[in-house]
Amino acid sequence: MPPTAYHAPETIEQAVNLLSGDASARPLAGGTDLVVQIRSGRAAPGAIVDLKRIAKLREIRREGEGFAIGAAVPCTALKDNAALAAAWPGVVEAANLIGSVQVRNRATMAGNLCNASPAADSVPALVAAGATCIVVGPSGEREVSVEQIPAGPGATSLKSGEFVAEIRLPGPAKGGSDAYLRSIPRTEMDIAVVGAGASIALDGNGTCTAARISIGAAAPTVLLVEDAGKALVGTKLDDAAIDKMMEAVRAACNPIDDKRGTAEYRTAMAGILAKRVVQIACERAGGNS
């Protein structure tokens, strides 16, 4: 059945009321997943609650050293924010790999996250960056780490009436930067066969002081591979450390064979992409791997 109501609230409170008062209601951010799902019958919300008229959700603001990105901010707008693009180039790039320019002018990171696809491009980058999100709902507001939102393909940990209002990125670590890469058969317009994100910090000697490595489309949800990060911390990102990191990434993979790639290929590529994103993040952080 097609939806029977479309609401465009102007405040978060109104949105929460609309969503918590109707179990069949779904929040609409960019719509690039939800509208397709409605048209194909994969989703059948009774009501649609459009978040894009809520001014606060269309903003990118500084939040201390970090950034708060509203749930209705389209991916292309991230690029236009110079401070954000300088602080988290990997996150901004990841969000700007989704679909086409047309799609990225609508799609949002919050939507990408809550669509809960293990292949969502922006999510590994957000996880590597240590991003959190502000979840609002009938029982108020809570902050959770991004990796806690997806519960499995197409499923989230959000409770009835809740939605992600904001994504928060910390300030970049001193000597730190990030990167994201994905493997797709074409150059654009594909869903990641596998993706990898890295956030790295180096001290003045080029020793890695912090590392978060994440992988997408290699398991039912995006994974933060803690062992991969551990393999790098304290090293100068020498070949042995990189090999150990890649091994940890491959060990964490639990992919499927599907129309987009084989499990074997995904696992192999997860390691290779992780190596490449570490190299890029390291270069960006001022080191030379």
Partner: protein
């Protein structure tokens, strides 16, 4: 089901329509508003044939709910030419034979215009990536890319002359 009343601006004209909550902007443009220049090739944002500009940004109108257009400004292929005066991109598409069947052409032209409106001097690679969301099955893209590059050059010249 009660319909939503929407007032919006299409190619500079104020338009009103009624739509259902599930109808897309493309449905309304092609149906209620009778503007069939925007095409539906996929209905899922994968082909770009329905590309329109919404408040200055190009989008797939098949991914925009019609209700979202309230108070917005929509530009479609029907608004690219000024009267009978073709836009240089349209003229270059003709001169370069950058269309064969012509079905994807409106989407390409709207997308190309959106590019040249913000980047008057794109590289071939930039044009190719900007237009990656527009599928063409006839031309192999070669002549489309050349037409857009040539239109960019002409527009630059016009700007210098102006």
């Amino acid at each position: 089901m009660s319909k939503i009343h929407v007032t919006t601006t299409v190619n500079g004209d104020e338009r009103e329509f009624l739509c259902t909550p599930g109808q897309t902007l493309l449905d309304v443009l092609r149906g209620e508003l009778g503007m069939t220049g925007s095409k539906e090739g996929c209905g899922s944002g994968d082909c770009g044939a329905c590309t329109v500009v919404l408040d200055g940004e190009m989008v797939c109108s098949c991914l925009v709910l019609a209700g979202e257009a309230q108070g917005r400004s929509v530009s479609t292929i029907e608004g690219v030419a000024e009267g009978s005066q073709l836009h240089p991109i349209q003229q270059k598409f003709l001169e370069h034979a950058a269309l064969q069947c012509g079905f994807c052409t409106p989407g390409f032209i709207v997308a190309a215009k959106s590019l040249l409106d913000r980047n008057p001097d794109p590289t071939e690679t930039e044009v190719r990536y900007w237009l990656a969301g527009n599928l063409c099955r006839c031309t192999g893209y070669d002549k489309i890319i050349k037409a857009v590059m040539d239109a960019a050059a002409e527009l630059r010249q016009e700007r210098t002359a102006a």
